[in-house]
């Protein structure tokens, strides 16, 4: 298959799989709680239902409030397409390296936080303020993990990192382990999962992300929900691409067999990730909002430690 066609496959794949991933996580959590839970395709149905509904807009909402869902979704969708999933040979992956990817997600968050302030309600403000507090700690932690990996691989380009991990005997390194833990903590915080935030809550004072998007409805809400789903897929893909890239096709042009192996391995890894996330979320309690600073401060420090270990050991 030609590369541009693969790029298109990637763009559609991340969009198509994202609601399914959320469906699996919800199903796992429901089964662990002894419920049967909704079917796996329920998230698709929810999105379609929201898309068909009319938008109810507060009188004080400005044009920004109506533009942000589209730009946020487009930015996160593009970011998800940049992360290598089943092959490292995509043109899309070269538009932005890992640092630029973090910044692109930062732009999306910036817009959404502004939208939370737009209507001028107190819930929107509290959500934006806390979301930005969480991001201000999660983003540097993420960059420290980036530094660690970049130091080892001598590149911040994602396909290159995956190829390096596949083709070199990296071995078990304490820095990579610390980096993986740090990245997982960041992923939990960035996706508003328990214990940092609760995606299912509608108890006012415990909401962070949900409070920020409280005033959204109809197609706008559908886009924001879909963006959250794509973002969860993105972070799982990122962990996979940086630390566990086995099965990715690296020989170009990609043959049918390699494509099959790549897609199969990716699907299996997502499945495992979803189950692990479900189990973790069921096993742990949500923490108070100002404990989040300690949680993410821990992730940040782990990231710094990982980088320093590697900076020092590289010099030996």
């Amino acid at each position: 298959m030609t590369t541009s066609l693969l790029d298109l496959v990637q763009l559609i794949l991340v969009l198509a799989l994202a609601p399914l991933l959320t469906g699996i996580v919800r199903k796992v959590k429901a089964r662990l709680l002894g419920r049967r839970g909704p079917t796996l395709i329920q998230p698709y149905r929810d999105l379609l239902r929201l898309l068909r509904k009319e938008v109810v807009l507060a009188p004080s909402a400005s044009w920004l409030f109506r533009v942000i869902p589209y730009t946020t979704f487009a930015a996160i969708w593009l970011a998800a397409a940049i992360v290598p999933t089943f092959t490292t040979g995509l043109m899309t992956s070269r538009i932005a390296d890992l640092i630029a990817l973090v910044a692109l997600l930062g732009s999306a968050r910036f817009g959404l936080a502004l939208a939370g302030m737009d209507v001028g309600t107190s819930f929107g403000g509290i959500g934006s303020s806390r979301e930005m507090m969480i991001a201000s700690l999660a983003e540097p932690a993420m960059l420290m993990v980036t530094f660690t990996v970049a130091l080892l691989v001598r590149s911040t380009s994602l396909p290159h990192i995956s190829e390096f991990m596949l083709t070199h005997a990296v071995g078990i390194r304490i820095s990579l382990l610390l980096g993986l833990i740090s990245l997982a903590m960041v992923a939990i915080a960035e996706n508003a999962r328990i214990p940092v935030d609760n995606p299912a809550t509608h108890l006012e004072l415990t909401m962070v992300h949900e409070a920020m998007v409280l005033e959204y409805s109809g197609r706008h809400l559908a886009l924001i929900e879909a963006a959250s789903m794509v973002k969860l897929l993105l972070y799982l893909s990122l962990i996979v691409a940086m630390f566990l890239p086995w099965g990715m096709g690296i020989e170009l042009p990609l043959g049918w067999a390699a494509l099959g192996i790549g897609l199969g391995a990716y699907a299996a890894k997502l499945m495992v990730g979803a189950v692990l996330l479900g189990v973790f979320e069921t096993a742990i309690a949500k923490m108070r909002v100002f404990r989040v600073a300690e949680f993410l401060g821990g992730a940040f420090l782990l990231g710094i430690l990982a980088a320093i270990f590697l900076y020092v050991s590289e010099g030996l």
Partner: protein
Amino acid sequence: MLSALSVGLGLYALAFGTGLAGRRLLAAVYLLSALAGATIAIAALRVLIAAGPAEVATLPLGLPWLGAHLRIDALSAFFLLVVNFAATLISVYGLEYGSHDAEPRRVLPFYPLFLIGMNLVLVADDAFAFLVSWETMSVASWLLVLATHRQDETRSAALLYLVMASLGTGALIFAFGILAGESGSYGFAAMRAAPITGGKAAVVFALALMGAGSKAGIVPLHVWLPPAHSAAPSHVSALMSGIMTKVALYGLVRILFDLTGPPPWWWGVVVLAVGAITALLGVLYAVMQHDLKRLLAYHTVENIGIVVIGLGFALAFRANRLDGLAALALVAALLHVFNHAMFKSLLFLGAGAVQVATSERDMERLGGLIRTMPRTAFTFLIGSVAISALPPFNGFVSEWLTFQAIIRGSELPQWLLKFEVPIVGAMLALAAALAAVCFVKVVGVVFLGRPRSPQAAEAREVGNTMVAPMAGFALVCTLVGVLPMILIDILRPVIALLLPGSGPALAGSSLLWLVPLGADRSSYSGLIVIAAVAILATVLVAAIHRFASNRLRRSPAWDCGFPDTRTETEYTAGSFAQPIRRVFGTTVFAARERVHMPAPGETHAASFEVTLKDPAWEGLYRPTATAVSFLADRLNVVQFQTIRRYLTLMFAALVALLLIVAVSQ
């Protein structure tokens, strides 16, 4: 170039003369300044594109045996471009904004004088001309700060500025004195020919960092900057924050990269530490601020820190003969100099527009301006995203390049640097993330939501001559963000001048792709990112409106079922900053929050109080001030003596001095 410079300076001088006439010729002052700025900026751009040799001239001014030496090389030309391009747009803005000044006589003559001072600093080629121009710049800006002298806080800000400016110039005088050496030749050419080394170079380094750094606002010498920059009229604030700090950085670059010899590696250690602390503390101060202009001024401190980090890496790489990486770090630093001049000018002009429309600087009394001032809001939004280092705007490009330099910092051989580099990286990452928090706060509180005061509700959009310069700056921010190589190509002669033999910086890049260190290491394309997001968003809009639903209904906000229309229930700047205050403020600023609830039965309102302590002020300036006044008290006894005792004292002093001379020989 020299002829264009003299035409430009002549026009500025004409504007100065016109300005003395006061309000009647207000338009002429700003038009002449804009014309002068455009003349010099275009000539400087042509010099950079042509990359020709330096032009020199000697004028029969100044010290009789020295004259005034002028020299325009690539470094001067680049800073001339930054200064005069921004000054042109700011002068156009002044046409309308200036007419709102209460006392135009206190602004008009000094505005062109300030620009003359800054231009002369950039072309001076001997220490005397440099220092005279530097002082012209300082005094003119001090007079401009005093334009609002009827407010008490302006007077104290101006006094502090004067003290700190004198301290900085004092440090520079000593630095040049040592650079001139025993031959006493104050020309820069002589200093370049015989660079000093060893202990003397170390003293020059410390003095230059102090002298230029205090003007640029590095922590802990930044205390004067936020009050002074925010007290001036907004177009002058833009000049001071956007441009004068760059002239100060020019002084630092000129001394550290041109006039002294090859740097020892520990200069990099010091500069990196200073830069990282400046960046992080600057943004933390900013998050705590509720005064719009003061907040922007604290962000200047942060961005100066980012530039200084880039310079620190350039010094460290150069000391270790890694010239290619030094070139990358220097490109990042100089690019950020340009970028910060653009978006900070834009943001101060936006703050000025808000002030004209509402007479308010306090964010807690603003809100909802996106509806009444849509064009100002849109340009301010672009500036905010740019300063938060987010794609697709220009601030991101220079920070991205700085991060690329940080990643290569592991190649530095010294252990101290090895430990320092990841920590500097972490602090820079934290500063960038906090800047985004701060600007969500600014845009969210000032422009979004509902108006918090009648003035904000009744705001009117400002005129086209004020919007057009802001739009110009916003356009440049976008252009450099999506096609950064346009600017980096212009920077090449500067790098060749300061780091000869480093080879072409970012060699693998093309117009579309930014590739700092080889295609397999990292790449970024701002244009493709913005185009892809735009295409995807357009497709989404079209598809959803065609196939799903495009109905829309206006209805009161949901707000969990209890929408309260009083604006007191809105989130304020203080409440938005509360999580950051809890997480960082308690340690850095000793932040304390107190709620006073009235006892049951009492009818007065509850109140909330936040106290913050400035660590630089409490830790450095207050003890110094206490020590100085203690010493002054002790020395007071010397003041009221008999003539006999005075003569004894003078005799003792003479003997002591002679003894020192005798011992030292």
